[in-house]
Each structure stands twice: as structure tokens, then as C-alpha cells.
Amino acid sequence: MFDVERVREDFPILSSEVHGRPLVYFDNSATSQKPRCVIEAVTDLYTNHNSNIHRGVHELSGRCSAAYEDARSKVRGFINAPRDEEVIFTRGTTESINLVAQSFASAYLERGDEVIVTDMEHHSNIVPWQMACERSGASLRSMPFDDDGNLETHLLEEMLNPRTRMVAVSHVSNVLGTVNPVKDIASLAHEHDVPLLVDAAQSAPHMKVDVQDIDCDFLAFSGHKVHAETGIGVLYGKSEWLEDMPPYQGGGGMVGIVKMGGTTYAEPPLKFEAGTPNYVGAVSLSAALDYIASLGMENVAKHEAVLTEHMLESLAGFEGLTLYGNAPLRCPVFSFNLDGIHHYDAGQILDKMGIAVRTGTHCAEPLMDHYGITGNVRASLAMYNTVEEIDILAEGLRKVQGLFA
């Protein structure tokens, strides 16, 4: 049984006040709040165990190394990856995608090749590919979406061709909340022997993400969006790719033998983890995944479905409000504009009422271009949000309208 009030008690920040009002935190797509167990795991590590990992001869180093590798196993379980070695720790989704874009591109991308993304991607799944294409002489193509926020996947069939080297798609749109049919996209791409990278930054906090079920070749997500610390992220990659791809960065920890005449590299995942990794972040991620598991992701999803329904009902009847995206399958991310009111003005007033939303382009300018807007207001919810908070937002929006009337 999912008791949202009890869940809220696990997150110290949620009982705080902002501008004298109880905090309504609706900026979860940007970053999520941390439960006490995550905060305590970090404190405990620094208080009792801290030491650099791997190759350490002493007790503390052994403990931290074990905790780091244990976190890797936990992530493997979280995304149902076949092997621990297929889980690479990074700084976050952005670095994960950059790792693939750079390493994959240097091995397989040539002049005249093509990479396919979509018009609804976050900039972090566009710009790394633009950079890779620029370096290699490949070109970037983009799959459009309709006004409801559904990818026009029927176009993918004709976009895929013998020069396509990669398809990179977000699992869930960070603006529209659309859950994209990544499983279908994977099977279509694979029919053409093209690998698929899935940006799971916005899906991992809300739903069971199963890399074997999707059958993606790469998948990236961020720790801080699943209630862990910032600065830790994950890249899953199928072994066949990771073994073949060249390292992304050079340094300690990623080598076999180093001679001035040449160096051999460690096997994955260490090949892609140069330098001291963020082992504290990994431990925080481990604690966060334990926390989610203790609640049950299916219970989280059920609670969030109730929130989604309530939000859609509340926004549907809202006069003078344009909601962007109306996909049948969605996560609790809602973006909208109030007629005649700049999103930044609206966000500013909501902030004064203790309601934290995000305004602007949400790092998705091509998506904004689709709707012909310069930005919008985004309310993104998480497992600890409540129906009452949605009503507070609706009330806040009415006040904003009143102020600008």
C-alpha cells in the first residue's frame, strides 16, 4: 500500500516553507528531492568509510570499492541489464550520451553516414550527435512528432537506410511527458542493423525500465532524477558494443598496461571510467534505488497515474490555458501556457506562492519551435506529490490570471 503522506515524511525538504508558504515542489524533471536514507548513506560513507576505491590495499578502500561495485549490481537489477559489466557510471545522462556519441562516432561514424534523433529531444540528446556528425562528416536527421506529442514513428521506416548508424530517442519527453514506443523503435532499427540509444532520464523515476525488454543497445539515466545525489549517472551498453568501442577519456583506472610506447585498456566497464569515479554518488544511487524498491515501482507508477489523471482533469477545464502534449501514454510532466501571460511572469508569481515550477524552453528548443512558442511553464511531478498540491497549483494559476487580467 502506497501511503503518500508517509513517503513525504521520508523527504526532509518537503516539509519546508518557501516565501512563507508550504513548498509545492513541481520541478522534479529538473531534479528530484532526496529521501533521508540517501542523505544518511552519504553522511555515513564520509563519516565511517571514505577512501578512494580500487587497488587500495587497506580496509576502508576495500569497503568503498565493494560499495561501488554493489551499486553497479543494484543498477543492473534496476534496469534489468544482463551483466554488471554493461553498467558504466558517468556524471549523468548528458555525459552518458556524450560518451556514446564520441566513442561510437570515432569507431563507426563516417562521412555520409546518418544519425537519427527526434524533434522532441532534450538538447543533451541532440548536441552531442551534432558534434559527432560535424567531426565525422555524417548528417543528423530528426523524426518529427504530432501536436499531441506522439512521435511520427511511421516515418522512421523510410528514414532508416544503409547509411544510418544510430537512432537516439528519449524514452519520455521532458516537456510533454509522452512515453515513446522505444521497444517498437528498437525492433525497427534492428531490422536495419542500426543500434538504438534510449535517453531514460525522464522515464527512470516513473516506470520500470527494462533494457532487455526494450532491447536497446544503450540507455542513459541520471541519479539525481531518481532521488540520488547529483553528479552520478548511468550508461548501459550491450557488451558487444562496449568491448568494441574505444575509450572515451584516458587516465587512471581504465588501463591494462601503460608503457611510454603504448597502453592497453581495461575491459568494460572500467575502460570507460577514467579517473576517480564518483563512488559517493554511486552509493547514494544505491540507497535511492533501494528506497524505490522498498516502495515498489509499480506502486509509484499507480500513485502517479492518479496524479496524472487529476492534473489532466484540472487543466482540461482551465479556461485560457493551453496544455502541450496529449499522448495516450504519459508520465506526470505537464507543460502549458496561460493565454497572454509570459511563462516567466507566471512562474515568478507561482514561486511567490511556494509553487516551484520551471519556465522556459526546458532545453528542448526544437520542440518549442514545433509549437511556435518561446517557452512554457512546466509542472513535473514525482512520487511524493499529492492531489491537494495539484489543486494548489490550479488555484495559483487562477491568481496569476487575475493579476494579469
Binding site: Y344, Q348, L403
Partner: protein
């Protein structure tokens, strides 16, 4: 009125406002009163980077004083721009250079504005000051 008197007037004007709601209401009202910049001047050259809303500044010199026009697509930002215009438009560059810009702090606007907006205001002021320095 000189630049100090104008600022004192603004500070007095805001001091009677009871809470943030009234402050924003007033800014919105000021924003509505600001003359729009004609579309041909809403250019990339006139745009101020680092603002979350679009902000355009058109600056020139007229009879030895600063001629300042400004616009934004956000109303609250327009309100702030109208205050900056009140203080700086038609003022001699030397006077701007020699005076302190205190009204944002003393009205409480700099703390009331969100950090990103106050960064944006800083960019606007820096742009104006850069122009003024080159034209004193």
C-alpha cells in the same frame, strides 16, 4: 529631477506597497505603460543575453543625454525596464557614471526578483553602463 531624486521617488513609491503581490501588481502596471519597441528594433543586436525572457535595448545619444528604449515579451520584466528608463533615459552619461544605482536594492526589488531575473537585470545594467562609458 536628477538621478538621485528619481530613484528616491521610486523607492518612496514602492515603500507604500504592502506585500509582494502589490509589488508585482505595480510592476505589471508599469510594464503595461512602457512604450513598445517597434518590431524592426527587436533585433538580435539589440537583444540582451542571459535573460529568461527576451529583452531588447536600443541605446543612442540625443543632445548629450542617453536615449534609452527597451522592451521585453514578459510583462514584469517590462515593469523593471520602465523603472530603468525612468532613471537613465534622458540623463547625461557623466551623471549616470557618477551616481550609484541604489533603487533596486532599496525598493527590495533585487531580493524580490528571482536570482535568474536579477542576473538578467544585472546584464541589462551592465550593457547600459558599457554604452554610457563609451559615450561620456
Amino acid at each position: 529631477m536628477d538621478i538621485v531624486e528619481i530613484q528616491n521617488e521610486i523607492v518612496a513609491e514602492f515603500s507604500v506597497l504592502d506585500d509582494w503581490f502589490d509589488v508585482y501588481e505595480h510592476l505589471i502596471e508599469l510594464g503595461r505603460g512602457l512604450d513598445a519597441l517597434s518590431p524592426e528594433h527587436r533585433t538580435e543586436d539589440n537583444a540582451i543575453p542571459g535573460c529568461q525572457s527576451n529583452v531588447w535595448l536600443r541605446m543612442g545619444m540625443e543632445n548629450g543625454t542617453l536615449k534609452l528604449e527597451a522592451d521585453s515579451d514578459a510583462l514584469i520584466t517590462r515593469g523593471i525596464l520602465s523603472l530603468l528608463l525612468r532613471v537613465m533615459d534622458g540623463t547625461r552619461p557623466e551623471e549616470i557614471m557618477d551616481s550609484e544605482l541604489f533603487f533596486l536594492d532599496e525598493t527590495g526589488l533585487s531580493t524580490n526578483l528571482s536570482p535568474s531575473r536579477s542576473d538578467g537585470v544585472k546584464n541589462i545594467i551592465n550593457t547600459i553602463m558599457g554604452f554610457v562609458r563609451n559615450h561620456k
